[in-house]
Symmetry: C2
Subunit: 127 residues, 2 copies
DNA sequence: GATATAGATCGATGGCCGTCGATCTCCAGC
DNA sequence: GCTGGAGATCGACGGCCATCGATCTATATC
């Protein structure tokens, strides 16, 4: 083991053994991670999560006036949450006269669901 | 239709037709929604999502020193993210000498994965 | 004991976000 | 046109959070 004393008056202690070979890397590309993280963030509030649960379970579209009494917050807060879901691309709405009807966008959760379920992106299972 | 003029000098216009019968309710109880929302919130950052991806994919435990160079942030930021994941109950760590090894807690994502996949809680599919 | 390494934690910073009351915009009936 | 209902939006408020540099704690070697 060669010792280079040029401009190195102190003897530096040898570094410890490396812990391991570097063998890890993310499969998920940054752009995809950002997409999925934005979906996760939209679901990261209990009210928004329950909104998705309601909308997803319902066969048709749901009027906002039905959603508001489900929660212990003001109408404006429910509207705000619906806006967050809209902007995350999870839901959309349709105006009918006085009323606004919301629905989950088909497959908006698909990529994230596939990833979190530990599956490849294409569905490979008949359930 | 009786008109009550007592202390009601103005004639109030009749309310419009209701939009629909109220038929929606969340299946997900508040406590479960809060649990799952906290998991979602932990995943709601791209770096943390990629950390879970790496740790989940790896057969064993992964040293922090391997994780840090995967991202374009400081060591302290990676440590902070790992702490968030720990506190959300998604990962745990084990000390070996100088090094700390992280792993995903088995089935920590199970409840959330089942819900987001639209499945009942018990798995019903062999893939 | 001194020194170095690994990584957890602290505190500051500036941006993000859930909630509210107020207000606005659109729709509909009189 | 006036009035009222539905719900979207605004702005304020206070708490939350990602990032950094600095520092601390635990481990290991000389």
């Amino acid at each position: 083991m060669a010792v280079d004393l040029q401009l190195s008056p102190k003897q530096k202690r040898p570094a410890g053994e490396p812990c391991c070979e570097p063998v890890v890397y993310p499969d998920v590309e940054r752009a995809q991670a950002e997409r999925m993280a934005s979906v996760a963030k939209a679901l990261g509030d209990p009210i928004r999560l329950q909104l998705i649960d309601v909308l997803r379970k319902h066969a048709g579209k749901v009027c906002v006036c039905e959603l508001i009494p489900l929660f212990d917050v003001r109408q404006s807060t429910v509207s705000h949450h619906l806006k967050v879901l809209r902007e995350a691309g999870l839901v959309d709405s349709e105006r009918r006269g006085l009323w606004a009807y919301y629905y989950v966008i088909p497959d908006a959760l698909g990529e994230f669901a596939a990833w979190i379920g530990g599956e490849p992106v294409e569905p490979s299972c008949e359930c």
